[in-house]
C-alpha cells in the first residue's frame, strides 16, 4: 500500500482549491492520501480536506510553524516516523521554500514543475517551452518530493469522503527556527499604481528631450486616477527613467484602457509592449510617426505646451 502526503497551505479562509488540486493529483498516485498542514486553521480544515480524500491531517496550528525553517524540521521528523512514499507540494513561494529545505535534510529526489503524478515514483512535466511532455521516473531515497504546478489537476470531492482524522503535531522546534528572520527590506521606489495594472499609462520617449519632460508626464499621471508613468527604451537608454519603467519587447507589456504616448515615435520594439492597449492617444511633433498611425487620437504639436494644458483641463473638470 502506497501513501502520498500533501503539504496543504491553509489560508485564514480555510482550505481552498490549491490544496484540493494537490489532493486530486495525489489520489491518482497512491492508495492512501494524507495531509500535513502547518499554521492556524490547520485542524479546522480537516472536514474540507477529508471531503477531498484526505484520510488524516497532521496538523500544527501554531502560527510560528508557518516558517519554512521550522516546517522542514517538523516534516522531516514526521516522515521518519510515518514513512510516506511521496510528498506533494504546491508551486508557491512557501511550497518551494519548504520543499527545498526538506530536500536538503532528507537527500531525496525533488522534482519541480510537475504537471501530474501517476505513481509514487512517476511524474510528468513539460520541457522545451512546453513543446514536449516527458514522463520522469523518480529515484533515490523515499519519500520522493514533487512540486506540482498550479491548476495541474481538477479539484474533485470523493464519494466516500468524511472528516479526516486530525493528528496534532507538537511545535517542538528551537525558537530561532520559528520565525522567518527579515534581514533587510527593500521597497521599490515609485508611487501610484504599478505599470502592470494601471488603468491609464502615460509614457514618454526620446521626444521629451530631457528628464525634465518626465516631470510634465508625472503631473499628468497625477491628475488621472489610476495612471502610471512609463517610458520607451530610448528614454531609458538615455538614463531619464529607470529600466523598471521600460515598456516594449525587452521591457514590460502593458494593456491599459488608455495609453498616452508622448514623444514616442513608435519603434517596433516599443509597439510590441503596448499594442494591447484599448485606446491609444499619441502626442508627437511628427505627424508621420508610426505611433500616429496606431493611435485612435493623434495630437500633432509641442508636448511642452499641450501636456500641461491637458493636465490643467483634467484637474478643472475632475475638480482635483
Amino acid at each position: 500500500m502506497t501513501t502520498a502526503w500533501v503539504h496543504a497551505e491553509v489560508p485564514q479562509t480555510g482550505a481552498d482549491a490549491a490544496a484540493f488540486e494537490l489532493l486530486a493529483a495525489a489520489r491518482a498516485a497512491a492508495d492512501v492520501v494524507e495531509v500535513v498542514a502547518f499554521g492556524p486553521g490547520s485542524s479546522a480544515a480537516a472536514e474540507a480536506l477529508g471531503a477531498h480524500g484526505a484520510r488524516r491531517v497532521y496538523a500544527c496550528d501554531e502560527a510560528s510553524m508557518a516558517s519554512a525553517r521550522a516546517g522542514a524540521l517538523i516534516l522531516e521528523r514526521l516522515i521518519q516516523e510515518h514513512r510516506p512514499d511521496l510528498v506533494l507540494f504546491p508551486t508557491s513561494y512557501a511550497g518551494r521554500d519548504l520543499a527545498a529545505r526538506l530536500q536538503a535534510r532528507t537527500g531525496s529526489t525533488l522534482m519541480s514543475n510537475a504537471t501530474a503524478v501517476s505513481g509514487p515514483d512517476r511524474a510528468r512535466t513539460e520541457i522545451l517551452g512546453g513543446t514536449r511532455i516527458v514522463d520522469v521516473r523518480l529515484e533515490g531515497p523515499t519519500p520522493r518530493l514533487v512540486l506540482l504546478k498550479p491548476r495541474s489537476a481538477e479539484p474533485e470531492p470523493v464519494a466516500d469522503g468524511g472528516v479526516a482524522d486530525v493528528v496534532p503535531v507538537a511545535a517542538d522546534v528551537p525558537a530561532d527556527l520559528r520565525e522567518p528572520r527579515v534581514l533587510t527590506r527593500q521597497v521599490e521606489a515609485g508611487s501610484g499604481p504599478s505599470l502592470d495594472d494601471a488603468r491609464v499609462v502615460v509614457a514618454g520617449g526620446r521626444g521629451l528631450g530631457s528628464p525634465q519632460g518626465f516631470e510634465i508626464l508625472a503631473a499628468l499621471a497625477d491628475a488621472i486616477e489610476g495612471a502610471a508613468v512609463g517610458a520607451s527604451r530610448a528614454a531609458v537608454d538615455a538614463g531619464w527613467m529607470p529600466y523598471a519603467s521600460q515598456i516594449g519587447q525587452t521591457g514590460k507589456t502593458v494593456k491599459p484602457d488608455v495609453y498616452i504616448a508622448v514623444g514616442i515615435s513608435g519603434a517596433l520594439q516599443h509597439l510590441v509592449g503596448m499594442k494591447g492597449s484599448r485606446r491609444v492617444i499619441a502626442v508627437n511633433k511628427d505627424a508621420d510617426a508610426p505611433m500616429m498611425r496606431l493611435a485612435d487620437l493623434g495630437v500633432v504639436g509641442d508636448l511642452a505646451q499641450f501636456v500641461p494644458a491637458l493636465t490643467q483641463e483634467i484637474r478643472r473638470r475632475t475638480g482635483s
Binding site: L128, G129, T131, R132, R206, A234, D237, A238, Y243, Q249, T250, G251, T253, G266, A267, L268, Q269, V272, P290
Partner: protein, 645 residues
Amino acid sequence: MRGAIVRTARVDAERDAQRGRVGRELTHVLGQRKLFQKLTPGLMHAFIFWGFLVLLPTIAEAMLAIVDPSWSLPILGHWPPFVFAVDLFASLVIAGVGVAFWIRKVQRPDRFRGSHLRDADRTLVAILAIAGTLLLWNATRVALGTYPHPAAAPVSRALANLFAGGAGTETASRILVWSHVLIVLGFLAYLPGSKHLHILTAVPNVWLAKPRPSGRLVPLRLDLEGPQEDLRFGAGTAADLSRKQTLDLFTCTECGRCQEVCPAWATGKPLSPKLLIMDLRDHVSTQAERVLSARAGGVVELQPLVPAAVDDEVVWDCVTCGACVRECPVDIEHVDTIVDLRRHLVMAESRFPTEAGRLLRGIEGANENPWSQPPSARVDWAEGLDVRILQPGDRAPEYLFWVGCAGAFDERAQEATRSVARLLAATGTDFAILGPRERCTGDPARRMGHEYLFQQLAERNIEVLGETGVTKIVASCAHCFNTLANEYPDYGGRFEVIHHTELLARLIGQGRLTPGPDARAGTATLHDPCYLGRHNGVFEAPREIVGAAAGATVEMPRSKERSFCCGAGGARMWMEELEGTTRINDARFAEAAATGADVVATACPYCTVMLDDAAKSAGSDVRVADVATLLAESVLDAPAAGPGA
C-alpha cells in the same frame, strides 16, 4: 592530464573539418598568416617560429656534441646555406625576443590585461638563452677551428673574437653546449603546464578548425525520439566540452588579439574572449580528474561551467560577431563554445536574460516571429507596390525574395525592403515573396542557444521552400542570409542563396541599374554587417552600390574583415545592454560619424535599427540607411534618371 582530457573528449562528427586542412596548416601555421594581421608582433613571432624550425637540427647536434665534442651534423651541417641559415635565424630569434620584450615592457598594449605575464617572461628568457647559448657555442667552435664553414656564419665569426682559443675556450665551449642542452630540456619540462604549450597544440588545433564560412554553427541535432544517451543540450560541465573545444583551451597563448577586437570588451562589458578561454582552461584543469573518471563511467559530481568557470553575464554579452575567431592566430573558436554554453543554460536550465523571453515566446508562438506580429502583417510593407505573393501551387519565380521578420515588421527596416522590391521590379527581375508563409529562420533562437527551436523552424521553412520549387533565394537580412546559405544545408535545405547587395551589384554591373549622378547622396561610409562581411566574405558588393549611389565614400578605421559589430548579433537585439561603459551601437556610430560622412550605409536591418537608434540618441543628423535605399533614391527617385536598359 591535459592530453588525457583532450583525448577522451567527444569528437564532433558535425564539424565537417575535412576541407582545407592542409591549406590552413600551410598558411596559418607555416605561413603565420593570421599573426601578420599585426605587423610588428607578427614579424617578432615569425622570426622566433621560423628560427626554431631551422634550429631544430642544431639542437640534435648539440645533444650529440655533449658526448663527442668533435661531432657535427652530417651533410646538413656541412652545407654552407644551412650553416648561414642557422647563424641568421639564431640572430633573428634573439631580435624577435628583443621586440617581444619591447612590446611587453614598453608598449604594454591593453590586450595583455589579464594574461599571465610572468609565464611569458620566463618563456622569452628561455628562448633567448637557447638561441644565445647556441650562437656562443658556435662562436667557440669557430675560435677552436672545429666549426664547418665559418665563412658562412658571419655572426658566429664576429662573436668568435670574444674567445682567445686554447684550453679556456674549450672549457667555455663545453659549458655553453651543456647549458644549451639543459635549457632546452628544462624548457620542455616546463612546457606542459605553461601557456607556451601552443607550440605543440597549435598544429592539431588548426587541423580541427571549422572550414569557412565561419557563420555556420556546429549543429547539435536534437532527436527527442532517439536514444536518451545521445541527447546533449550543449555544454553544462567540463565533461561536455568537445575535443576541439578542449584543445582550444590548451592552445591559447593569451596574446589577447581577440580581446582587443571584442565589441563587448571594448565597451566595458565583463566578456573578453581571452579571459573566457583562460577561465574555462583553469576550470577544466582543476576538474580534470573528475572529468576523466566521469568519462570512464564513474559517478562523480561535476561543477557547472556557468557560473563555476564563467559568469552568466559573460555568456550573454557575446554578439557572435566572430571578430575574435577571425583574429585568433591558432584558430580558437570562441563563438561556438559560447553558444554551446548558452545551449545548456537555455535548454537544460531555462536560464537566460529575462527580457529575451519574449523573443523565444514570439518565435515559438503561433506567429513565429520575434515580435509576435501577425503573419498577415508580413506584407504590409508592400502596400502600393507590385509584389507577387507566392501562393501554394504557383509557378516558381527565378528569385524568392526572403524578406525576414525585421525587414517585414520594423518601420525603419521596411524602407530597405521596399527599395529592394522596387529595384527588382524596375529591372524586370522575376521575383516573389512568401508573404504570410514566411517565418523566422530561427537565427536568433539558435544564437541564443535554443537549438531545438531553431531546428524546428529550419525544418518547417525548408519544407515550405521545397514546396515552392524555387532554387534561388535573395535575402535582405544578413542574418537570414547566413542561416539560409550556411546552416540550412545541414538540414537538407540546399538553395542558391545570395544577399540583396550581391544581386543589386550584379544588376548595376549589367547596366540594368544606372544611378543618376544628380541624385547621389553626400559622402557615405559603409558599415560592414558581421554576418555579411566577416562571416561570409561579401565586402565588395555593398561597396559597389555605395560607390554608385553616393557622391563620395570614406572608410571607417575598422572595416571589412575587421568591421566592428552594431551590437545586435547573437540575439542581443532582443536583450538589454545595461552594463558597460558605452553601448556597442553608440561606439560604432561614433566611429562612423567621426569619418565626417553624411550617411552611414548599412546592408542589414539589425545594423540599420541599431545605428539609427545610436544616431538619434547622439542627437546627430547623420543619416543611417541601407545601401538599397540609397540606390533606389539614386536610380528611381532622381528627377532626370530612370532605370537603365
